[in-house]
Amino acid sequence: MKLQKATLFGLYAVLDLAEDRERTRSAGEIAETYGISINHLAKVLRDLGRAGLVEAARGVGGGYRFIGNPKRVTLMDVIEIFEDIRSGAGDARDPGAKTDIGYSLHVVLGEIEDIARATLRSVTIETLLKHVRRDRDQRRAAAAE
């Protein structure tokens, strides 16, 4: 599954901000961390704000902070702000989809996407951050040896 750039940037921003919900981070800081376009990220942050996942804090030390519930918001919730992956493969409008071969091919591709969607629906922000912390600890422990 190939996600659009905006979707990927949205996931980076949400996960980055959710790691420390008290902290604010500017669009520039986030963009620098992930090596992505600040202009593109700024638009993404506005979309995340409209969706109620982040809020902008103004003034000194201003920036963005995560305001969603990390135990309830899933990766799919973030992805759906930017793109519709509910029905990808298996779309009857695709060229050739109504032929015998096209139908069977789309059934197989649809199976793959069903699994991908189930996975994205079941991984919350908190769950993914657990992986982040565990992997980070393991890398640090390995580096210390």
């Binding site: 899933t74 189930a118 996975t119 629906r121 079941s122 919350t124 769950t127 657990k130």
Partner: protein
Amino acid sequence: MEMSKYAARRQGAKSSTVAKAAKKPAPAAAPRAAQGPIIRPVNPGDLSGVVKVDQRNTGVAKRDYWQDQYERYLRRPKERFFLVGEFEGRIVGFAIGEVRAWEFGSPPCGWVFALGVDPSVRLRNIGSQLIDAISEHFKCAGMRKLRTMLRRDDNLNLSFFRSLGMMAGPFIQLEKDLEE
């Protein structure tokens, strides 16, 4: 699914298939949170509570099935674990698992094949405690891998197991309709 502590019995677990890793001593006592649920091995008198919890979750009472599971558990107590969660004097959860060796070529691992928590006590970490407890039993049996299988659309339980760090394993489940 879950289980708790069949310690002494497990001392002798020796199946050569089951254990590269050194076996750990079994948990000395059932895990218990302060004023929280008690996680312990099932007793015959718990089955009606298990049936009720399952019925609340699935809408179907399957007394014969749970009786059969209990009897199966009794036959191989060193490798099958049937745990219940007791809270305020009633059964509010259960977990059942077993060691499965060389199924589809897989080295021995711990399978959790039933888990239920009464909806009225969700968000009290009872499911997590059940899984933690059964994991300890599997570790004591020499297992280093925990597996389960869920419906793709069972988002509640998928999210729960994901939150415990479980990820997709190396096997893919396949099925087909058998034609008449």
